[in-house]
Amino acid sequence: MSEQNMIEVNSIEKRYERKIALSSLSFVVKKGELVALIGPSGAGKTTLLNLLASLLEPDSGELKVDGKPLSQYADRRQRARKIGLIRQQFDLVGQLAVIHNVLAGRLAEWSLLKSFASLFIPQEKDKAVDALKRVGLEDKLYERTSNLSGGEQQRVALARLLMQKPEVILADEPVASLDPARSEDILAMLTGLAKQENQTVVASLHSVEYARKYFTRLIALKNGDIFFDLPSHQVTEQQLQELYQLKELN
């Protein structure tokens, strides 16, 4: 693992109305790390990921990706090369054929004319076929995406990320709507592919079991604050119990 800092979060804060979603959060993620964000619902996991994906703006504090403040990634091409996003399965355009959803990962690099032409004659088709092979869906090339099962749709989203090749992958509850077998399948694929490509992953998960199994580092959030931040093998049952304990029990 290299020592290069990929993501630097510097005392960021985010409020919704009066509620504090994140309070003065700081941490650093190194290149190649596989980080899982865990914690009870409402702890701020999704807010944090949305901030990193610049879908939201922080109220204060600083976010750096690869040494550059996030606000400097105004150019969509630059940003797409740095940061990729995968969420629950609603991220694909259901009415398009699978191949176009996969090729959408190349849109940042393509001219408008090329992307338009691709809808009729798929461009860089062999790359898409290759990506679909790696996620095991090469036979569904021209299937309508909405006809695929939830697990298959998430694999298409992974194939899109393979086309995009970002250095950082942000995954927001990528397996929230899948059954256990499909969930393990997707997580194994996500982390496996990330390792092959030497990508950094930050994922929010509600299952501690999966987080420990597939990720190298766990950051636990509780009430908008970091509760613990440890390599996954050092996390104890005691800590986890405290993390998920209901208030009434305190």
């Binding site: 996003l85 009415q95 398009l96 809808l119």
Partner: protein, 262 residues
């Protein structure tokens, strides 16, 4: 809250009934509303309904007029579709960058679409005939403008209703606004656009039939001629052709809608 809702509805119904009663005072009922020979004419027209003129000449004329009516409608709707796509996409505001410019764009182009459909196609036709003379283009343009307005407004609404997540994901993958349009918005609404256009196509055929009123050919023109000659049996022949045309298109669009919903 519920009882208020119920009252609200009752209030509205009562108000609408009152309005209807008021409207009836607009007619001078005392002097009689029928022509002196009105009832007789009505009986004649009704009787002719069951004895349409089916002579070869009239049928041939009816087939040709049906084609003219259909051709104007089709040419008009094809032009309307182009107008609707361009203005609808602009009026949806998805191409605008900032919040302010999006609002301005939406407001402006929705206004344009509103103006296009506020004026009835026949009034447009009359405007075109008055300035261009009697040419098929008058009918085609007169259909294209209001139908472009109606379709464009609906297209804009459809585009605005597309779920946000896939678009955000495309943006995150680095797609530009135009690329989002081709990969996100348009594929998502394509099927509904086709169904709605087919539905309006049927209306356009009906509108095309009345273009005769400003002197342009087609079924309406023949109906008008036959009415002027008091040949009610011919009138019904042409009417039946119009009904047949409408039923055919209605059936086609229903079938298409059912298949596409699968």
């Amino acid at each position: 809250m519920l009882s208020f809702d119920l009252h609200k509805r009752k209030l509205l119904t009562a108000f609408l009934l009152l309005l209807f009663a008021w409207s009836l005072f607009g007619v001078n009922w005392q002097e009689g509303v029928l022509h002196s020979s009105g009832l007789g004419t009505a009986m004649e027209i009704f009787a002719a309904m069951f004895q349409p003129d089916l002579s070869a000449d009239i049928i041939r004329l009816a087939v040709h007029s049906s084609w003219i009516t259909l051709a104007y409608a089709t040419a008009g709707i094809s032009l309307a579709l182009i107008l609707a796509l361009v203005f609808g996409i602009l009026a949806s505001g998805v191409l605008a960058g900032g919040k302010g410019s999006r609002k301005m764009m939406k407001g402006f182009f929705r206004g344009v679409l509103g103006f296009m459909r506020a004026i009835h196609e026949l009034v447009w036709a009359w405007l075109f005939v008055a300035s261009f003379g009697l040419t098929p283009y008058a009918a085609v343009f007169a259909l294209a403008i209001p139908y472009g307005g109606i379709l464009g407004r609906i297209f804009a609404d459809m585009i605005n209703d597309v779920p946000e997540e896939p678009i955000q994901a495309l943006r995150a993958a680095g797609a530009s606004r135009l690329q989002c349009l081709f990969y996100g918005y348009l594929p998502s609404v394509k099927a509904s656009m086709i169904s709605y256009t087919m539905y309006r196509y049927e209306c356009a055929v009906r509108s095309s039939a009345i273009m005769s009123f400003v002197g342009l050919g087609g079924l309406g023109y023949q109906i008008q001629l036959s009415l002027d000659d008091l040949h009610y049996d011919e009138v019904w022949t042409f009417m039946y052709f119009l009904i047949l045309l409408i039923i055919l298109i209605d059936g086609w669009s229903n079938m298409l809608r059912k298949r596409m919903a699968l």
